[in-house]
């Protein structure tokens, strides 16, 4: 009987994934409040940035993320920093936000629900949903830009800025050129 229930649960999960909507996903912020990030109305897009307190590549992106946040946050684009896994504590998240001067709101994803919904694999990786509420749909997941080519192999500065281009396209109402681009970083599956 237990097994049957498990299978049914797996089926529902698969269905949700296929639909690409996470309206009902509820997560907690570091203050312990329950947040439904994709139920927010009145945003044109939601950006989830998957990170980890101890991933050096993620941390090197803090200044670039602050720049993108200040450029887009006032234009009805919601930003969320997402910490997958159950090992990190709310206090650890708050200390990390302070250490890297992140002005972004944060969420903890202990059971990798957002991870599975978006299909991200590493930190740092981003997922962008266009629209809000029931209309929210995943339009991009992957790297922030092309600075990192591989472990230990990086460009002095990025030459392609996928996240920025996707957000600009949403604001402009123009088609989105890329729906995914491989990200380099720390594997989220290691946090299961």
């Amino acid at each position: 009987m237990n097994r049957l229930l498990l299978w049914l649960f797996a089926l529902t999960q698969a269905f949700t994934l296929a639909r690409g909507s996470g309206e009902q996903i509820e997560l907690r912020d570091p203050e312990g409040r329950v947040v439904s990030p994709l139920r927010e109305s009145d945003v044109r897009a939601s950006v989830f940035i998957f990170t980890r307190t101890d991933c050096p590549i993620s941390n090197r992106y803090a200044p670039e993320l602050r720049r993108l946040y200040s450029k887009f946050a006032g234009r009805r684009i919601a930003f969320w920093l997402v910490y997958p896994g159950h090992k990190v504590s709310p206090a650890g998240i708050q200390a990390h936000l302070k250490e890297y001067a992140y002005p972004l709101p944060a969420l903890q994803d202990p059971d990798h629900r957002l991870v599975k919904l978006t299909g991200v694999r590493v930190t740092p990786e981003v997922a962008v949903f266009a629209g809000s509420g029931a209309k929210a749909h995943l339009v991009y997941h992957g790297r922030i830009d092309d600075r990192f080519e591989d472990f230990g192999k990086s460009r002095p500065t990025a030459t392609r800025h996928e996240l920025e281009d996707v957000l600009q396209a949403i604001l402009d109402g123009s088609p989105i050129a890329t729906s995914e681009a491989p990200a380099v970083g720390c594997f989220i599956a290691d946090l299961e």
Partner: protein, 601 residues
């Protein structure tokens, strides 16, 4: 539901088959299909020895710790990938004979075990009760240093941007020369310091660059130091993550003089937040004077570095004919971001080829000094060669220029370099560095006929070998390239050796016009004036010297002599006494003091 179960069964079947295939490939290895691998005992020894102990421990140079099972489990897949690519542990040189000290290269079997363990779920297993693991202590690895040097203030590395190459000047508060057996470098924030080189600046030539820059230190990937004496660099003083500080072998101390500066050339990598960098140097002295005199030889041909945009295989070569039997003790290759294949070797007189180093896929981030487990003997008549290739195409992701630009030699990170440094120890008893240096500088003149430093250094060599007239020619050739206070001063000393005192004095005066605070020139002209019985004028120059070098016994003695000749006996006696306080063995000062005391009565 049944369908699902069948699917799972097939999956399990495939896994078994796959594992079986693996265990066949690694016949006799630990990767057995029967029992899944566990951290204890299969994985922990690999991680401890190669990752946790050198860098990945709390307070270590690695950006995160791998000291516990939990730490490693939270990186299991990442470890499998980075070891599979041989990005970690970082060890760029290819295997060779003789091997280097501290080689950190995983075997294919170890890499396979790490992969399999991650794939099988990164199980813990049971920690053996008798397992004891100790990590390196925080702070000084060699114990409390005899002298600790700090910077006047800290440096703040910005949160973002490209890598920073910064040079920090450490002044050494010594009152008499000491012999050094080790220098330990505490780089400050280990996670942002990628590597650091320590250079010995015997002429304080970097201080002015430091003063010109409002922040502490000054920028630049490479530092060029001026030196008027023949005092070639002889030791690699280097810090890289995870390598214990090196203590010089017995008999191979080096001399540190009062007034010498130590320059820490550091490669810093922004971390995402501003980082305060406070490097500290720990100096360990020895009472033992050096008995062996190694020297750093540099092969390079930066003048030939002119890489067209898009060029994928631009090659620079250089060679050095070995003039005496010698041992090669260590090697330090250096290129910037376009470097691709870096090779050094020696063609021996019997036709054999001795590899010195070979790095495929050069990565500046992991540049390092490599010391051989056993010295590499090269007989006289061998030819040391270097061959560096460069990739200036857009395919090289590290290319600092986008799109690629024409690149020449320079010390910015967007310029290029190609240097192969070797620490060599000539065979035989005496100090034979001068022979090596003469060969080196003649080779350099072959590459650059109008090179200031080649003429200048060759002149220094010739002068120290007693060939003043040849030296004068090369000093003059150097000065024809550019005017320089050091070269003028040295030319003056060579002219004195052939009794051309008037010309020598003119050189010192010219040197002082270029650098009014140039202590050596003040001293030399002071001596000349003393010799010409112009003691009144000599006093002013010697006063400059003792102000700049209050620990210089000779200068106090000479100032005393000049004062004595002016009849200022009491003042003279003060300086003779100072000279004797600094160096109680100073016979000349002792005789002079006796004379002054007799006259005083």
């Amino acid at each position: 539901m049944w369908r699902g179960m069948a699917g799972a069964a097939i999956l399990v079947g495939l896994m078994t088959l796959f594992l079986f295939a693996l265990s066949c490939r690694n016949a006799g290895s630990a990767a057995q299909a029967s029992a899944p691998l566990a951290f204890y005992p299969d994985i922990e020894p690999i991680i401890f020895e190669n990752c946790a102990q050198p860098c990945h421990h709390p307070g270590g140079a690695g950006p995160f710790s791998l000291a516990t099972y939990e730490d490693v489990r939270a990186r299991a897949r990442q470890i499998a990938v980075v070891t599979g690519k041989r990005y970690m542990p970082p060890w760029p040189p290819e295997p060779q004979k003789p091997p280097f000290l501290g080689e950190r290269r995983l075997s294919g079997d170890q890499i396979e075990r790490l992969r399999l363990w991650a794939e099988q779920g990164a199980r813990e297993g049971k920690r053996p009760q008798n397992l004891v693991r100790s990590l390196p202590p925080e702070g000084w690895q060699l114990g409390k240093p005899d002298l600790i040097l700090n910077l006047p203030k800290s440096f703040t590395l910005p949160a973002e941007g490209t890598d920073v190459f910064r040079n920090f000047v450490f002044q050494v508060p010594l009152s008499s020369p000491r012999y050094v057996r080790a220098v330990e470098i505490l780089p400050g924030k280990k996670n942002v310091v990628h590597h650091a080189n320590l250079l010995i600046d015997r002429e304080q030539s970097s201080r002015r660059l430091d003063e010109q820059d409002p922040e502490v230190g000054f920028p630049g990937m490479d530092v060029i130091l001026e030196s008027s004496q023949f005092e070639p660099d002889s030791h690699f003083l280097f810090w890289k993550p995870g390598t214990p500080p090196s203590v010089e072998p017995a008999g191979m101390t080096w001399r540190l003089d009062p007034g010498t500066d130590l320059i820490l050339n550091a490669h810093l990598q922004p971390s995402g937040k501003p980082e305060i960098i406070e490097p500290i140097l720990g100096i360990y002295f020895s009472e033992e004077a050096p008995k062996f005199f190694p020297m750093l030889l540099q092969l390079e041909h930066d003048g030939a570095l002119d890489i067209p945009p898009g060029g994928k295989d631009f090659v620079v070569t250089d060679e050095y004919p070995v003039p005496v039997d010698l041992d090669v003790l260590g090697v330090y290759p250096h290129a910037h971001y376009l470097g691709n294949i870096v090779e050094g070797w020696a063609d021996l007189p019997d036709g054999r080829r001795q590899t010195l180093i070979r790095i495929h896929n050069w990565d500046l981030n992991w540049q390092a000094v490599y010391r051989y487990q056993e010295p590499v003997f090269l007989p006289r008549g061998s030819v040391i060669r270097m061959r560096f290739s460069y990739d200036n195409s857009a395919d090289n992701v590290r290319n600092p220029n986008h799109p690629p630009q024409r690149v020449k030699a320079g010390n910015r990170s967007s310029d290029e370099m190609g240097h192969l440094w070797l620490q060599v120890l000539p065979k035989g008893g005496a100090d034979q560095r001068i022979v090596l240096q003469e060969t080196l500088m003649r080779a350099r003149l072959g590459k650059y006929p109008n090179d200031f430093s080649a003429h200048f250094n060759l002149a220094s060599v010739l002068q120290s070998r007693g060939r003043a007239r040849e030296a004068i020619e090369h000093y003059r050739a150097a000065l024809a390239v550019r005017s320089n206070a050091l070269a003028l001063n040295s030319l003056g000393t060579a002219l004195q050796e052939v009794d051309q005192f008037e010309e020598a004095a003119a050189c010192y005066r010219k040197a002082l016009r270029l650098r009014p605070d140039y202590t050596d020139a003040h001293y030399n002209i002071g001596l000349l004036l003393l010799r010409a019985h112009q003691s009144e004028r000599a006093i002013a120059h010697f006063e400059q010297v003792v102000r700049a070098r209050p620990y210089d016994a000779d200068a106090h003695n000479d100032l005393g002599s000049a004062l004595f000749m002016q009849g200022r006996v009491q003042e003279a006696a003060v300086h003779f006494r100072t000279a004797l306080r600094i160096n109680p063995e100073h016979q000349n000062a002792r005789d002079n003091l006796r004379l002054a005391e007799q006259r005083g009565r």
